[in-house]
């Protein structure tokens, strides 16, 4: 497995009223999470990263499992104490495997839901009190085009990512009146360590079916995340789809 190295960002940090602050990113050690951390850092954010592995690109790295609510709460508290009030939270930590629905074990099913939906729920619960107190904040969840289009062998993953969409739309409606924004990015197949080298999503024949004819890059997903955090100030419960045209 390789760790994606985010491309340098040539933009100067945006002036926008957004005013870069402190962000918490889960899954920040590799892939999309690492790209999000790098993109936010390049825009002037201080980033606390939560991952099973260390997050070298982050200002603060906490090694935790997002299914461990107490550990996540402690890590988010540590980020707040060390870096300052959390203004943005990005739930990226994920887990992917394919299996025919009849062969998915209860353990596999539960793990899928606990990582994706549980990870988002826990992260949101940890950052919401501070955000509500300050009347500002942005939460972005990474879901998947499979949540919209489904996929053969993806029942547990699609169910978990679909649940993320329902959660995002409901929490968005719940906290928007308080000035908080909750949105999502639903990437398509993306060139990250979650896709095994022999994954069918990397096959040339599959890529030819995509309008864009290639995998998306973690940097493209990160650009969408950063946009929702900083500039999508009238977006609430919205889902951006950098999916190479897999779901239109």
């Amino acid at each position: 497995m390789t760790t994606a190295t985010p491309a340098p960002v040539e933009d100067p940090p945006r002036k926008a009223g957004a005013g870069a602050g402190v962000a918490v990113v889960t899954g920040s050690a590799s892939g999309i999470g690492a790209a999000v951390a790098a993109e936010l850092a390049a825009r002037g954010w201080r980033v606390g990263g939560l991952d099973l592995a260390a997050s070298p690109l982050c200002d603060l790295s906490a090694v935790v499992d997002v299914t461990d609510a107490a550990a996540v709460a402690a890590a988010v508290a540590r980020v707040g104490a060390a870096l300052g009030p959390v203004a943005a939270a990005v739930s990226v930590a994920g887990h992917y495997e394919m299996a025919p629905v009849g062969e998915i074990t209860v353990e596999q099913w539960t793990r899928m839901l606990r990582v994706h939906l549980g990870g988002l729920r826990t992260l949101s619960k940890c950052v919401l009190p501070g955000m509500l107190e300050r009347g500002a904040g942005a939460i972005v969840a990474i879901t998947s085009e499979l949540a919209v289009g489904g996929g053969d062998g993806d029942a547990h993953y699609a169910a978990a990512k679909g649940a993320v969409l329902g959660f995002v739309r409901s929490l968005a409606a719940e906290v928007a009146p308080a000035g908080l924004r909750v949105n999502a990015v639903a990437p398509g197949p993306t060139d990250t360590p979650l896709l095994a080298p022999d994954s069918p999503w990397r096959a040339a024949a599959y890529l030819q079916t995509l309008p864009v004819r290639r995998l998306g890059s973690p940097e493209e997903v990160a650009r969408c995340v950063a946009w929702l955090v900083e500039e999508g100030t009238f977006c609430v419960g919205e889902v951006l789809g950098p999916n190479s045209g897999a779901v239109i």
């Binding site: 040539e10 933009d11 969409l165 995002v168 739309r169 968005a172 409606a173 928007a176 009146p177 000035g179 924004r181 999502a184 990437p187 398509g188 309008p211 864009v212 004819r213 290639r214 998306g216 890059s217 940097e219 493209e220 997903v221 650009r223 969408c224 946009w227 500039e231 999508g232 100030t233 009238f234 977006c235 609430v236 419960g237 919205e238 889902v239 951006l240 789809g241 950098p242 999916n243 190479s244 045209g245 239109i248």
Partner: protein, 254 residues
């Protein structure tokens, strides 16, 4: 002017007022040379072009010949159009049984037809470069429909289907087509709405805001920010998508 759109020409239609002005300002700030279209010439359009270092491109987009002429004129003066922002719109509200058929078709032929003519006109230039960004301004009503707005909603829903189809069709050539569906935005249209409802502008703002989870209407600059994202040539994996900028009224429904 520096920015990641430096060296690119952006044609913005309906740029005389409202959201089009915000799109033009934002794309110019990001480095693009802007060409500003409106139905008729005006001092506002000319001075905006001068301020932004761009050009004007006056003409009726519902007329294919006029579109061919204005795109050719822009390309002769500042180069091939690399970014098209189809922002023009004509709106006329009426119940279906009480509407004027000429007016009804004018809505469709301007909003949907005009965008089609524009895309046909800019395609050769984009194809020659193997790259392009087309941003179509649809509407929340194209997603939800609205009583008394059959023509407008049909035209905007048609634009969403056009976006999805051309997103698929043109992506292999490096030409990226996406749409934005704004909700209620603070534009001169709200003066029309206020007059129709016989209430003050402040009252119409408050009425609209009460139906939006974020509790306010949007600013043109917030839609322009979405235009800037979709014009960004570093983002190529998003095609055929519709970004909904509406403060949470539809929450991702497409």
């Amino acid at each position: 002017m520096t920015g990641h759109l430096q060296g690119r020409v952006a044609l913005v239609t309906g740029a005389g007022r409202g959201m089009g002005v915000a799109h033009a300002r934002r794309l110019a700030a990001d480095g693009a040379v802007v060409a500003l279209n409106d139905l008729t010439g005006s001092t506002a359009l000319t001075s905006l072009a001068a301020e932004l270092g761009g050009v004007t491109a006056v003409g009726d987009v519902s007329d294919p010949a006029a579109v061919t002429r204005l795109v050719a004129d822009v390309e002769a003066r500042v180069g091939p159009v690399g970014i098209l922002v189809a922002n023009h719109a004509f709106m006329s509200m009426a119940r279906l049984t009480q509407d004027d058929e000429t007016d009804w078709w004018r809505v469709v032929d301007t909003n949907l037809g005009g965008t089609f003519h524009l895309i046909q006109a800019v395609l050769p230039g984009m194809r020659a470069h193997g790259a392009g960004r087309i941003v179509i301004i649809a509407s929340e009503w194209g997603v939800t429909g609205w009583p008394g707005a059959t023509a407008y909603a049909a035209s905007k829903a048609g634009l969403i289907a056009l976006t999805k189809t051309l997103g698929r069709e043109l992506a292999p050539e490096g030409i990226v087509v996406n749409a934005i569906a704004p909700g209620v935005i603070d534009t001169p249209q709200l003066l029309v709405d206020a007059a129709a409802a016989e209430v003050s502008l402040a009252e119409i703002h408050a009425r609209y805001a009460s139906g939006i989870p974020l509790g306010r209407i949007g600013a043109p600059e917030e839609v322009a920010a979405a235009v800037a994202l979709l014009a960004d040539h570093r983002l190529g994996s998003m095609v055929g998508q519709v970004i909904q900028v509406n403060g949470g009224s539809t929450r991702g429904r497409v």
